[in-house]
Amino acid sequence: MNEFHFSFVDLLLSGLRLSTPLLFAALGGLLSERAGVANIALEGFLLVGAFSAAAVTYLSGNPWIGLSGALAAGAMIGLIFAMLTVYAKADHIVMGTALNLFVVGALPLFNKIFFGVTGSTPSLELDQRLSVWFLFFVAVALSPLIWFFLHKVPFGYHLRSSGENIEASKSLGISVKRTRLIAVILAGMVTALGGAFLSIAHGSQFSRGMSAGRGFIALAALILAGWRPIPVILTCILFGLADAAQIVLQSYPLPDGSTLPVQWIQMFPYIVTLVVLVGFVGKTEPPQAIAKND
């Protein structure tokens, strides 16, 4: 029988680490969706953040410059998404799909132009990487900050009212378009931090498809939390723990010495979500004016 070290603390820590990119992406999605812009482009935002963080860190040798690069690139992609959805008045879901496709295709092209290969950026030294825990605490600290921003700052009121009722907001003199533009740019920046976590903190390079559906999982966590910034910490940690449990269980020995097939374990977090969502949560109330155009 093979050795199997199981420590509950390790599992917990690993779950918290893995929840970080989810939390960043979910908070980005929250900013955008509370302002009324439906955002399935989180996956693309994450990848842009991951690529720009890794590329800038490698070229400059400094992860802090890399992190700023991710923020700048996140703001850029947020700006593009906002231009398409808010100003060109295109369907939000369709533009989200287009943006995800664009990012998936364009990043390997850029990678080839900068580094000669399509697969991944050159890997970083250990001292060129950021602390995983630092970013985790940034993400957790960001949640109450966003709550405060949404509920205590005038611009936060504008943001929420743009997401609930376009006509009423306009009659109060709020520029729905400008509010949404700023919200989506902020969403791009916050989500890009999650991407940076993947490529310069948790990993040591950007590689194709490294977000692995996390943008969509974050969206699920956001909906599960009812679009609220504090509960979203819990739902993201839940998914992070499920992810960690999956990795631990893969080497868990059965009585006959074999291990559980990986695939069964991989299904586990998704089935749990389905049961929670369908069995307990039921109908969720999205912001009223979500995906509607001014």
């Binding site: 943006l99 496709l101 092209l109 969206l219 089935i271 389905l274 369908v278 039921g282």
Partner: protein, 370 residues
């Protein structure tokens, strides 16, 4: 008897024809042309960034996808899954549902199909029909789940379909690697299925184009007929446009939600037929390269119209095939360029309203009435 009532053709055929003509006019309008031009220019800029001549890139794309009989065969072969997944997204969308689950549905259909082909290989023509029926039923039932969740529990279909995608993919991965693995192959794939289950080729050059393409065309036309010409199709559209009014009119919203998802899932199963029975003759890991997600783009580019979807699927198929040639014939353009072009085209067509608005403003400035 048909399970639905067919609307009788009325005498206003001429009027209808005129309406139809104006739809064609709407599609080939000035804003559309400008949009296409903008998209092509944007693609050209991307190729310039990669240090390649955009005219060369476009001519390779075109000759690669339509330059010979064989190239056309490949283009249509790649278009086949896009027609199916485009329909899988478009039908539920008419009821106001966003089916991101076509990928999971086609995987589950493939599992059902492979199970039949694996366990009942020697029943001749019967095993062929068994496999096809299993695929359709598998896809439809797997899509019914999020429909039921939505109708009876109010669970958001975007989330439930995403979750089910992961479940179906893991399940198929497990079956391929453990239960049905071909012991003689190094790759993650099942054994080759009995020849009686194969779908015959159409023999366009050496291309793998098979009768699944014809099935895709028939499916698209049937979907159009169902939506536009039958009572049930009308109910589906009505529910999509105004659920509360439809309820008052006595239509069952719940039934329409579940039904539209099931039709979508049945359409997604066509991908499994094309790839497994028509081409590889075995279930391979990763046999779908995100076809379910590209279906969203195909459906949108086809304006949700089943006939439009045929053309937008052929366009995507041509890009896909042309990109393969691009990879061979240029130094820096890879397959990813096709993905970028797809994205640019979707974004451009999505912004067509803006282009029309700008053109109108331009006209007004010139002092042209209207």
């Amino acid at each position: 008897m048909l399970p639905f009532k067919v609307q009788t053709l009325d005498t206003k055929l001429v009027g209808r024809w005129y309406e139809r003509r104006s739809v064609v006019k709407k599609i080939i309008s000035l804003p559309f042309m400008v949009t296409v031009l903008v998209a092509l220019t944007a693609g050209g800029i991307v190729s310039l960034l990669a240090d390649e001549n955009p005219f060369k890139v476009y001519s390779i794309l075109f000759s690669g996808s339509f330059g010979s009989i064989e190239a056309i065969g490949y283009t249509l072969f790649y278009a086949t899954p896009f027609i199916f997944t485009g329909l899988a997204v478009a039908i539920p969308y008419r009821v106001g549902l966003f089916n991101i689950g076509a990928e999971g549905q086609l995987y589950f259909a493939a599992i059902a199909l492979a199970a039949m082909a694996f366990y009942f290989p020697s029943a001749g023509i019967f095993s062929f029909f068994l496999a096809i029926a299993a695929a359709i039923l598998g896809g439809a039932l797997f899509a019914a789940l999020p429909g039921i969740f939505k109708a009876y529990r109010g669970s958001h279909e975007v989330i439930t379909t995403i979750m089910l995608n992961f479940v179906a993919m893991s399940l198929s991965n497990y079956l391929i690697l453990y239960a049905w693995k071909d012991p003689g192959s190094q790759r993650p794939e099942t054994i080759i299925f009995s020849e009686s289950t194969w779908i015959p080729l159409l023999h366009l050059g050496d291309s793998p184009l098979n009768y699944s393409f014809i099935l895709a065309l028939i499916s698209a036309v049937s979907c159009w007929f169902f939506l536009e010409k039958t009572d049930l199709g009308f109910q589906l559209r009505a529910v999509g446009q105004n659920p509360s009014a439809s309820k008052v009119a006595g239509f069952s919203v719940k039934k329409c939600i579940v039904l539209s998802m099931m039709i979508g899932g049945a359409m997604a199963s066509g991908v499994a037929m094309n790839e497994i029975l028509g081409n590889a003759h075995r279930l391979r890991d990763g046999f779908s390269q995100g076809y379910g997600f590209i279906g969203i783009a195909v459906a949108f580019l086809g304006r949700g119209n089943p006939i439009g979807i045929i053309f937008s699927a052929i366009f995507f198929g041509a890009l896909y095939r042309g990109a393969g040639e691009l990879e061979i014939e240029t130094h820096r353009m890879t397959r990813d360029f096709a993905t970028v072009m797809q994205a640019i085209f979707i974004a451009a067509v999505g912004c067509e309203g803006l282009v029309a608005l700008l053109l109108n403003k331009l006209k007004k400035k010139k002092g042209d009435p209207k």
